[in-house]
């Protein structure tokens, strides 16, 4: 039997959504029974199969050029793209920096904060990704399912993955719908 393939990755988030995924405890075995869990940031395989996956799950918003690349790659290789968590869906906490702008945020982080050594500079290595405004995933690539929550409860993630693995559209309402 060909089990549907699921891949995940994280971008500008805190890894909390993936922690919440692990919070589904033994039910993760049920997910593995139903689906073939491919690349994730917490397993060995780091990139979704070039041949494509059925479901791609992305945690976090997009706030630099590296994240853009991750999002585009996942979109290209996944039939269905799921935005997992408030950062992926809305921009979330990292989007707070949009209120002051990238420049001010970097200055505060690397130069102005009391904890910085005097004379510290903003890193400018050409190999580093370029910072951008923080965006929700749907602002960069089309998203098929938005799963809000900070983080989404394990029950919600289980529901979404189980429904998708069985070829159904996951519906989020009542107890399953929380933005936190």
């Amino acid at each position: 039997m060909n089990k549907p393939k699921i891949a995940s990755d994280w971008m500008c988030g805190c890894a909390g959504c993936h922690m919440s995924l692990l919070d589904m405890d033994e039910r993760i075995l049920q997910v593995i029974e139903l689906a073939d869990l491919r690349s994730t940031p917490i397993t060995d395989l780091k990139e979704p199969d070039e041949s494509g996956v059925d479901v791609g799950v992305l945690e976090g918003g997009i706030n630099n050029s590296a994240n853009e690349e991750v999002a585009h790659k996942m979109r290209k290789r996944a039939k269905i793209l799921v935005a997992l968590g408030d950062c992926a869906v809305f921009g979330g906490v990292p989007a707070m920096r949009n209120f002051c702008g990238v420049e001010a945020a970097l200055r505060q982080a690397y130069m102005d904060a009391d904890s910085n050594e005097p004379g510290s500079q903003i890193p400018n290595d050409p190999e580093l990704a370029t910072m951008t405004k923080t965006r929700a995933i749907h602002e960069v690539v089309p998203v098929d399912f938005n799963v809000p929550g900070c983080p989404p409860d394990a029950d919600v993630i289980f529901h979404v993955l189980a429904e998708l693995a069985q070829g159904r559209k996951p519906e989020l309402k009542n107890d399953l719908l929380h933005w936190h």
């Binding site: 809305f90 707070m96 209120f99 309402k173 719908l177 936190h180």
Partner: protein, 659 residues
């Protein structure tokens, strides 16, 4: 009645009902944000749009009156889509990222509306404009970043409270809620009643004390009555883990309809006095913690030894039950001739004295709502009894006129049409002068013969320092009103001059404030059980006259310095109190008792409404209820108290009808 169809359901509602309210009566919920049942419809958020057959576009149901034969649909695909679009626009306007807002997760009407529409996300991203957060107010914070411009706070401040502090500045997407002319809230004309916070649907107005202390569903809600002043506002005490988190005005409240003042809403949660949690006794000049048994036997033996030589004084914040027991214990059982209240009858005694010949001469608070002229004499209603002030302040912009008469100036003067600054003690001359002008000009509603009118006017001008012109204006304004109300307070009652009340009553009859149908004369009295205390006869001046023992049941009340000095002259002072004070410092025995929220009982408000307060929190372990302490003293001195308060309050004729 008008017949309309909503979602294929036929309903009949009175003419003038809005579609939104009509749907409610049929059990159909239409999502809304700017609507609030105590505020006039505004039609600002557009979330309540419905499809009306024959109408070109969706219409806001909150401002749409029903029409006979109207066919309305609230859940069509296109309406649902529009609602989702409206919500998306609201979310994308400002910083509505839920994870860092204290109302998220149940208490946010905006978030709940989105959940109702089953929205998993919003497709439009914000413009990232940043608004300054105003943290200058002592009780709440204004964060325009979370505001949806529904203007509930603006309407509540103006329409309900009549203060008009909040308004909207700028235009379009830049609109913000500001205080006065965009000054910091803490330096504005805000009177800190907190109504705006209670009506805010989002986290834009945040209560400093209760924020992040748990969602409403994790709080216990106990309906009770505020023990602050004699207005007797209905409140909801929000409790978590035996701690008062917040006080809210009860929208169902018969007196206040949801409104509260600064004292009612915030005093209980910002209490800073030190609680007394164990009985104490003076030993070798120092107060020491003792057992209840030791304290009570000392008190009992002192009282027995000094029978007939006891002066007893109780707080008017205590329940009628407690006051009745107190009166019975000391006046009847211990034969004390000196049983009074901490208010010493200042706001009530003369009123009750006059009532013995004019039973029920005072009106009900409700007359203030429909008054076209209010005359406040010796009543600084802006400072105390604020909620009674809201009842007419909110009508001032609609044409209700205000006359203030007081030697002292108050904030109310700025709103008054006429403000007379009289010489202290000249009230009688002034009232007679007003009568005289009305009689002389033939403006009286009832006949009154004043042969020496000219002299009275002259005397009034001389005694009060008010010009003849001002006196005439005041008299004419009052006499030409259709439904005038005369409100008097401590400035009048403290003089303990019955003729003042008599003349005020005569003036009220003369101008038609009091006739067979209207009762537009009332006094604002003092603390929550002021009226009960005077009905029980506890309204005399407290002055020791050879009494050796003073028993002061002050409960959670504040005690004035003057009273403390007078009570401390006793050779033996027993203080039944909840908090430490100068008085407890002087005590020989301190008996720790419950505060208002830890006990049950009845309170009679200023217009005679008998209301029940409920217990919201449990007292500390060694603290006893006020009435329990009194009953135990009776037991230890081989007496039993009947304490039939319903009968006891009928001992004297009341100035207001009790109900």
């Amino acid at each position: 009645m008008v017949k309309i169809t909503i979602n294929e359901k036929q309903i009949e509602v009175p003419e003038g009902t809005t579609v939104l309210r009509a749907a409610e009566t049929a059990g159909i919920y239409i999502p809304r944000l700017c609507d609030h049942k105590e505020l006039t419809p505004y039609g600002g958020c557009r979330l309540c749009i419905v499809e009306v057959e024959g109408a070109r576009v969706p219409m806001a149901s909150c401002t749409l009156p029903v029409n006979n034969g109207m066919v309305v649909r609230t859940e069509t695909e296109s309406i649902k889509k529009s609602r989702e679009f409206i919500l998306s626009m609201l979310f994308s306007e400002r910083n509505h990222f839920c994870p860092f807002c204290q109302v998220s997760g149940g208490d946010c009407e905006l978030q709940n509306a989105a959940y109702h529409e089953e929205m998993t996300h919003w497709p439009i991203q914000p413009g990232w404009s940043d608004f300054k957060v105003d943290t200058t107010h002592p009780y709440f914070i204004l964060d325009n970043n979370r505001c949806i411009l529904c203007r509930r706070c603006v309407r509540a401040c103006g329409e309900m409270v009549g203060n008009f502090t909040l308004s909207v500045a700028e235009r379009g997407a830049a609109s913000i809620i500001v205080a006065d002319t965009d000054v910091p809230l803490g330096e504005s004309t805000c009177i800190k009643c907190g109504t705006c916070v209670q009506v805010c649907p989002t986290g834009a107005l945040i209560d400093r004390v209760s924020a992040y202390q748990g969602h409403d569903e994790s709080l216990e809600e106990i309906k009770s009555v505020c023990a602050g002043c004699s207005v007797g506002c209905s409140i909801k005490i929000m409790v978590r883990n035996n701690r008062i988190v917040r006080i809210e005005g009860d929208w169902e409240g018969a007196v206040n309809h949801g409104l509260l003042c600064e004292h009612g809403r915030y005093d209980p949660v910002t209490e800073s006095r030190k609680r007394i949690t164990a009985p104490q006794m003076r030993k070798n000049g120092k107060l020491e913690i003792v057992s209840w048994d030791e304290a009570m036997s000392a008190v009992a033996s002192q009282l027995m030894e000094n029978k007939n030589e006891i002066a007893a004084i109780a707080s008017t914040r205590l329940s009628v039950e407690t006051l009745t027991a107190f009166k019975e214990l000391f006046a009847e059982k211990f034969q004390s001739k000196h049983v009074t209240s901490v208010e010493e009858g200042v706001p009530t005694e003369v009123v009750t004295r006059f009532a013995q010949t004019h039973e029920g001469f005072e009106g009900k608070l409700d007359v203030l709502r429909n008054a076209d002229t209010v005359m406040c004499i010796g009543a600084n209603i802006h400072h105390s009894h604020m909620v009674a002030g809201f009842m007419f302040k909110r009508n001032l912009s609609k044409g209700t006129r205000l006359i203030t008469i007081d030697p002292e100036s108050s904030e109310l003067d700025y709103m008054a049409n006429i403000s007379l600054k009289t010489q202290p003690g000249s009230d009688l001359a002034l009232i007679r002068g007003l009568q005289a002008v009305i009689v002389q000009e033939g403006l009286g509603r009832t006949p009154l013969s004043l042969p020496d009118a000219g002299q009275l006017i002259e005397k009034a001008v001389r005694a009060t320092g008010v010009s003849l012109e001002e006196l005439k204006q005041t008299a004419e304004l009052l006499a030409r009103s259709i439904s005038p109300v005369i409100l008097f307070g401590k400035g009048i009652t403290a003089q303990r001059d019955e003729s003042l009340i008599e003349e005020l009553h005569r003036l009220a009859v003369l101008v038609g404030a009091v006739d067979s149908e209207r009762h537009g004369l009332l006094s604002i009295k003092g603390e929550s059980n002021s009226l009960a205390a005077t009905l029980l006869g506890m309204d005399t001046t407290f002055e020791l006259n050879g009494q050796k023992v003073v028993y002061a049941a002050v409960g959670d009340d504040y005690v004035s310095r003057s009273l403390t000095e007078r009570a401390s002259k006793a050779s033996y002072l027993v203080v039944q109190a909840s908090y430490e004070s100068k008085l407890t410092e002087q005590a020989h025995v301190i008996l720790p008792v419950t505060i208002w929220a830890e006990q049950e009982g009845h309170h009679i408000n200023l217009d005679g409404r008998i209301q029940t307060t409920h217990k919201a929190i449990t007292a500390p372990e060694h603290v006893r209820e006020n009435i329990t302490v009194l009953n135990e003293i009776a037991l230890r001195t081989n007496m039993t108290l009947k304490s039939d308060w319903q009968k006891a309050i009928l001992a004297r004729k009341s100035s207001v009808t009790l109900n």
